[in-house]
């Protein structure tokens, strides 16, 4: 996805676990993770799964339980406090200093580094221009909108040219439109800087569009690590499949080159087993066809017209209804019989 992959610092976590509350709360099971220089890794998972804890271990705000180690490049930084790690961090709540204006906020890290004033002015000026904040430079923080605050927070973190950039749900507090816009901006920024970044989110859309790789977590454990395509097309567990996008599940019995399910059969050319399996497929990988020749049959429960496509809830294929998305212009009505088939390349079969 990006060209400049070589000037970022690699990050390595070795057996990093974290227990809070004197041993009572296991926030993170032992985690091994390697992030190459310049890569953007997204930590994705539901609330409480340990994303922030992982990020804080990388940042140096938490120490891993004994035995865990953190490397930046070849340096063991496990015992190094955050102020010595040379990282940039962006918080969900922005955490801008209310007693300083926009410019002073951005300049803070440079001032702390005792940089000469001309150099500070130059760098802050560059940053203000790059983030299109010219007219905001001398505003107080409470006079900024949410999106503007997030830009200042980003600028403040990257102006010091950190070794790695850590972002904890930076867009969660913003409305949907702004979120999409800033997502694009952040993506461009990360590509341009070629900086190693760890990005925490529970929004799968954000994860897919920003991440070179995604780490899907649940309950303090890593479920799967892979590129957005891997995660989407080849989820290795039900959890991952359900968490990323919407997905349909059918229980069935594998026999020969197909799987028999409640509403018909699904071809499975690579089949090597026989027995109970679970078939997963995405709503968009379904083709509607004539009922008489269809491999799968069901009844339309509801249909939602969404303009560019129609979303159908279809029943009669086992205990769970399935979701189908179609771009054709046919109108479907509740109760009508419907026939369809699943694109054989897109199905995921989990053996039970």
């Amino acid at each position: 996805m990006s060209g400049s992959r070589d000037h970022g610092t690699a990050i390595k976590l070795l057996s990093c676990a974290k227990t809070f509350g004197g041993g009572t709360v296991r926030a993170l099971e032992s985690l091994d993770l390697e992030i190459t220089g310049g890569e953007t890794v997204v930590l994705l998972g539901p609330s409480g799964c340990g994303k922030t804890t992982t990020l804080r271990i990388v940042a140096g705000l938490e120490e891993p339980d004994p035995g865990g180690r953190v490397f930046f490049g070849d340096d063991d930084v496990t015992r190094l406090p955050i102020e010595k790690r040379n990282i940039g961090m962006v918080f969900q709540s922005y955490a801008l200093f209310p007693n300083m204006n926009v410019r002073e906020n951005i300049a803070y890290g440079l001032k702390v580094r005792k940089m000469p004033k001309v150099e500070i002015d130059r760098r802050v000026g560059e940053m203000v221009e790059m983030m299109h904040m010219g007219e905001l430079e001398f505003r107080r923080i409470d006079q900024l909108s949410g999106g503007q605050r997030q830009r200042v927070a980003l600028a403040r973190a990257i102006v010091v040219r950190p070794r790695v950039l850590l972002l904890d749900e930076p867009l969660t507090a913003l409305d949907a439109i702004l979120r999409t816009r800033l997502r694009v901006e952040i993506d461009e920024l990360l590509r341009r800087l070629g900086i190693t970044a760890v990005y925490v989110t529970h929004d799968q859309g954000e994860a897919m569009s920003l991440g070179d790789r995604i780490v899907v977590m649940s309950n303090g454990k890593v479920e799967q690590i892979g590129t957005p395509r891997d995660i989407y097309y080849k989820p290795n567990s039900e959890f991952v499949a359900e968490f990323i996008g919407s997905i349909n599940r059918l229980h069935g019995i594998a026999c020969g080159d197909h799987v028999e399910v409640a509403g018909g059969t699904v071809p499975w050319l690579l089949n090597q087993s026989s027995g109970k399996v679970e078939i997963l497929f995405r709503p968009e990988n379904v083709g509607i066809c004539d009922v008489s020749v269809a491999q799968l049959k069901g009844k339309v429960v509801t249909s939602f017209f969404q303009g560019d496509r129609t979303r159908l809830i279809v029943g009669g294929l086992g205990e769970r209804d399935i979701v189908i998305e179609t771009t054709d212009r046919t109108e479907y009505i509740s109760g009508q019989d419907i026939g369809f088939q699943v694109d054989p390349d897109s199905i995921i079969v989990l053996e039970k």
Binding site: L61, E83, G88, A95, N99, V112, V160
Partner: protein
């Protein structure tokens, strides 16, 4: 505003106005008049600068109050932050004990200082046992300082704890992530956040110390703080004009401090004691 609303407003304002006039403006006006009613008229107000006894008393009180305020702010800020950030057994008890002095009148506090640093006090007995010399500080400026600190610290601690509770921990983490060592975090993040609370409680400290009478009276110290001087002029010397001018000056200084604090911090600082 129509006539009806206007009438309602007048009715609502009336109680405040009556209290204000009866208990504040009238006595003040009377005091100002008495102060200027001597043979030399308003020139009497200059006495506080020219009469050595009055002037020394003013300076001593000012210095003592400033010293108490600064020390109390420093001590209470450190302890307040500590108490807010650490959870340990006995924390609740400690906090209620620290705020205990608020319940005592100045006389009792003076008495306690004597029990601590008086001729038969704890410190004097211990020091006698250890070194053979009795250390007695209750009746000097040190005794006053200790007593004033005793009732100043709780006021500040409570304010600081309330302000520290609202401090966003992410702010400190952000500063540290940008490379700030601990002392810079204190300077750039914590103190600015506590500033309104520090100003407000500092002003109350200062005002309370300027006007504290009970403690000074009980300790019967060899230095005269302004309230003591006023008392002496009034009851012993029957110098009503002098007492009035000193009262007005004391009032103005205290009021100014509170006013400045209020306009700086935007919160409502109230003097007590």
């Amino acid at each position: 505003m129509n006539r009806h609303e206007y009438r309602n407003l007048v009715i609502l304002v009336l109680p405040t106005a009556i209290v204000c006039i009866a208990f504040f403006i009238l006595p003040m006006a009377k005091l100002v008049m008495i102060g200027g009613s001597g043979e030399r008229g308003l020139v009497a107000y200059l006495d506080i600068l020219t009469k050595p006894r009055h002037f020394e008393s003013l300076i001593a009180t000012l210095l003592l109050s400033i010293l108490v305020t600064v020390t109390a702010l420093a001590v209470a800020t450190i302890s307040g932050l500590f108490l807010e950030r650490n959870r340990f057994r006995g924390r609740g008890l400690l906090i209620s004990m620290l705020t205990f002095p608020l319940a005592f009148p100045g006389v009792v506090i003076g008495f306690m200082v004597i029990m601590l640093g008086g001729r038969q006090g704890l410190v004097s007995e211990i020091s006698k046992a250890v070194t053979g010399d009795k250390i007695v500080f209750a009746y000097s400026i040190v005794g006053l300082f200790v007593g004033y600190m005793y009732f100043s610290i709780p006021r500040v601690i409570l304010t600081i704890m309330a302000a520290a509770e609202k401090l966003d921990p992410a702010l400190e983490e952000a500063a540290r992530s940008l490379g700030a060592p601990q002392w810079r975090v204190v300077l750039d993040v914590i103190l600015p956040a506590l500033k309104p609370g520090l100003i407000a409680s500092g002003a109350i400290c200062f005002a309370t110390s300027m006007g504290a009478f009970g403690t000074a009276f009980t300790l019967a110290t060899n230095i005269d703080v302004l309230p003591m001087t006023i008392y002496t002029e009034f009851t012993l010397n029957a110098n009503i004009v002098g007492a009035a001018t000193l009262s007005i000056v004391l009032g103005i200084i205290t009021w100014t401090a509170l006013y400045i604090a209020r306009s700086l911090s935007g919160s409502n600082a109230v003097a007590a004691g």
